[in-house]
């Protein structure tokens, strides 16, 4: 036996010792490339800072007109806006709003889309055809247009922004999960479960759905970034969160009025870019952990 095959065998036996799926899954969650590591670090640092905002910065709504529109300084190291509010504090607190929007959009759109699509795909036939035409109608609008319309109709609050984006997004998830369910429901273990006497509800939600969610996990993680972007876009267009609530999109919108104060637009822009790109980089880890687990 050559040294190489020996090493391979040792590695294999070590892997076998790791107890099953959980061990393997955790091993797969370790970042493997520089970009993945970078993404994880940025996310961790930013989320920690956003969570600890009250400790790290002053009140984001506190005005001090004596220092209005000043550039970065020791007191306000990201500068101040036209009302003398601290940009650093507004970035941290605005991040909270963005994160809340991102997460809740996914929870709402994900739940509705997955349940709707799974039922449609599982039942098939005419029910499926009708349910999917509804999805088609939603998808025939550009998502951002639909979100704008809904948001404009409901009024600019955080809750309505979440509702608007979720309403525009759930059909995408519905269609994706439906495709997966249609594939998985033909698998033999589903037939086996049916032969054991499992009813349709149990079959769909206990057997088919858990085996259909693999790809969705990756998409969900990547979409947190896009949901945050969409939330900021609505705010930027004046149809999302409104002043004085700090939010990255709102801050960029505001900054447009003061083209000479570069720090106004730089900080929220960078924050948005850093965070969304970090989620994309780190998303590779989730993709891998979904695809590389032995036995699927």
């Amino acid at each position: 036996m050559t040294r190489r095959t020996k090493r391979l065998e040792e590695a294999a036996s070590r892997r076998n010792e790791e107890s099953g799926r959980m061990g393997a899954a955790i091993a797969n969650l370790r970042p493997r490339t520089f970009l993945e590591a970078y993404g994880v670090v940025v996310i961790v640092v930013m989320v920690a800072a956003i969570a600890a905002a009250p400790l790290l910065a002053s009140d984001p709504l506190e005005q001090d007109l004596s220092v209005a529109l000043t550039g970065p300084s020791a007191d306000h190291w990201m500068g101040t806006d036209n009302l003398g509010r601290d940009i650093w504090s507004r970035i941290l607190n605005g991040g909270r709003v963005s994160l809340v929007i991102g997460l809740f959009v996914l929870i709402a759109a994900g739940t509705v889309g997955v349940v709707y699509g799974a039922i449609s795909g599982y039942l098939g036939g005419i029910v499926d055809a009708v349910m999917m035409r509804v999805v088609d109608i939603f998808l025939s609008f550009p998502a951002i247009m639909l979100a704008l319309l809904i948001s404009a109709a409901l009024g600019p609050t955080i809750r309505n922004v979440i509702l608007a984006i979720a309403a525009a997004w759930w059909p995408v998830y519905a269609r994706l999960i439906r495709g997966q369910v249609i594939v998985v429901k033909e698998r033999e273990y589903v037939t086996a479960s049916r032969a054991l006497g499992a009813g349709p509800m149990r079959n769909l939600f206990q057997t088919v759905l858990p085996n259909s969610l693999g790809v969705m996990k990756t998409i969900f993680v990547l979409d947190i970034g896009y949901a945050i972007l969409a939330g900021s876009t609505l705010s930027f267009l004046g149809l999302g969160v409104s002043l004085p609530t700090p939010e990255w999109g709102v801050m960029i919108r505001e900054a447009l009025q003061f083209p000479n104060s570069w720090w106004l637009i730089l900080s929220p822009g960078l924050a948005l870019m850093l965070f969304v790109s970090a989620i994309n980089f780190a998303g590779g880890i989730v993709t891998r952990s979904v695809h590389e687990i032995p036995g699927r």
């Binding site: 033999e188 086996a192 006497g197």
Partner: protein, 375 residues
């Protein structure tokens, strides 16, 4: 037809089963076409008996099994399980009946949910039918794992951690969980390594002895069928062409298709294998959407050619006719069973088979080492 080992009412009766699948619609004027996957199949299975269903792929044996398990609805015909017509009872009743008939599938890599632990997989039937408390179910699972020869620590692991043979044991444990009366096994060993097959078959045999199980086993390997079955139904193009007690079928086949199948079964003796002449059927299996008139086998029948293509084969479908006087020798669906019996092809085929496998005849227990289950 054979009355089986006991005079008790049969556990399973299949009467004139037809399963037709709609095939693509033709022009509007044409009637819809159907794939006649199963077209008029009848058989009975008695308690404690093992019935084999054999035939080449596409002959309808798996469809028959699925209809028996009520995984698809028969187009026509009745399936009586313990005297109850499965098509006529409400859904809740059907679920209760499912407890008593369990499937084993061909591919143990596909039939176990990869997202659940072995314990959850084996306990699933108990959960579905609300049997016992969580603790009782756990105890039952470890009992079942022991019964099928898996180590107790298998319970906490996932199916992917096991080999094909071990996975099939898990599937068997799941099928046994509700103490069923009937197990329908669709090619239970054909996806397994040859060295593992005997272990799984012996396990099935042991379970049958211990729990008085009844089996319907589907296979295409004739040697295997001979070892484990009491009676065999040979299927061709959606119908049964011969239904005989196992040894009768292998020693005195009365349908030309059975003879052809036997002549093509490999013999584990290279000299004999090379020396023998096989009956090679001409052409392909006709489409089940448009089966031949008369005897469904007549287009490829070697005997018909030899007899000078008698008209009757192409016009009248031969019924399954009992063979011999006693009524215990089974039945065959051929217009010319005596000609089959007297043919030189049959003699040659049987000679090749007996010459090679003298030792294994009538021996149900296959000698193997104890299954080695190490991790």
């Amino acid at each position: 037809m054979s009355e089986g080992p006991a005079a008790a009412p049969p556990l399973l009766e299949v009467e004139d089963l037809r399963v037709w699948f709609p095939a693509g619609r033709g022009p509007a004027v044409k009637r819809r076409r159907f794939i006649k996957a199963v077209d008029g199949v009848s058989f009975t299975v008695h308690r404690g008996e093992t019935l084999g269903l054999v035939g080449e792929s596409g002959c309808g044996k798996t469809t028959t099994a699925r209809a028996v398990l009520k995984l698809l609805d028969p187009t026509e015909g009745r399936i009586l399980f313990d005297g109850v017509d499965l098509s006529a009872i409400p859904r809740r009743e059907l679920r209760r009946m499912r407890r008593r008939m369990q499937p084993i599938f061909q591919d143990p890599f596909a039939s176990l949910n990869p997202k659940r632990t072995v314990e959850a997989v084996v306990a699933e039937p108990l959960v579905i039918h609300r049997q016992g408390s969580a603790a009782e179910r756990r105890a039952r699972v470890s009992e079942l794992l022991a019964t099928v020869g898996l180590p107790p620590d298998a319970a906490t692991r996932y199916p992917h951690a096991f080999s094909g043979g071990q996975r099939q044991r898990i599937a068997i444990a799941r099928a046994m969980a509700l103490r069923p009366d009937l197990i329908v096994a669709d090619e239970p060993v054909s996806a397994l390594d040859v060295s593992i097959r005997a272990q799984i078959l012996n396990l099935l045999g042991d379970l049958q002895e211990e729990f008085g199980l009844t089996y319907v086993i589907i296979a295409h390997d004739l040697a295997l069928v001979r070892q484990v079955t009491d009676r065999v139904a040979v299927m061709y193009l959606g119908g049964i062409v011969e239904l005989r007690p196992t040894e009768e079928l292998y020693r005195r086949p009365r349908h030309p298709y059975t003879v052809a199948l036997l002549s093509s079964a490999p013999i584990p003796d290279t000299a004999a294998e090379q020396a023998r002449r096989r009956i090679v059927l001409e052409g392909d299996v006709p489409s089940p959407a448009d089966p031949p008139s008369g005897c469904r086998f007549h287009t490829r029948c070697w005997l018909r050619q030899k007899l000078g293509n008698p008209e009757v084969c192409a016009t009248d479908p031969p019924p399954l006719t009992p063979i011999g006087e006693s009524g215990t020798a089974g039945a065959a669906a051929c217009h010319f069973p005596h000609e089959v019996a007297g043919s030189s092809e049959l003699q040659e085929t049987l000679q090749a088979l007996t010459g090679a496998s003298g030792g294994a005849k009538g021996c149900r227990e296959v000698p193997v080492e104890e299954p080695e289950i190490s991790d």
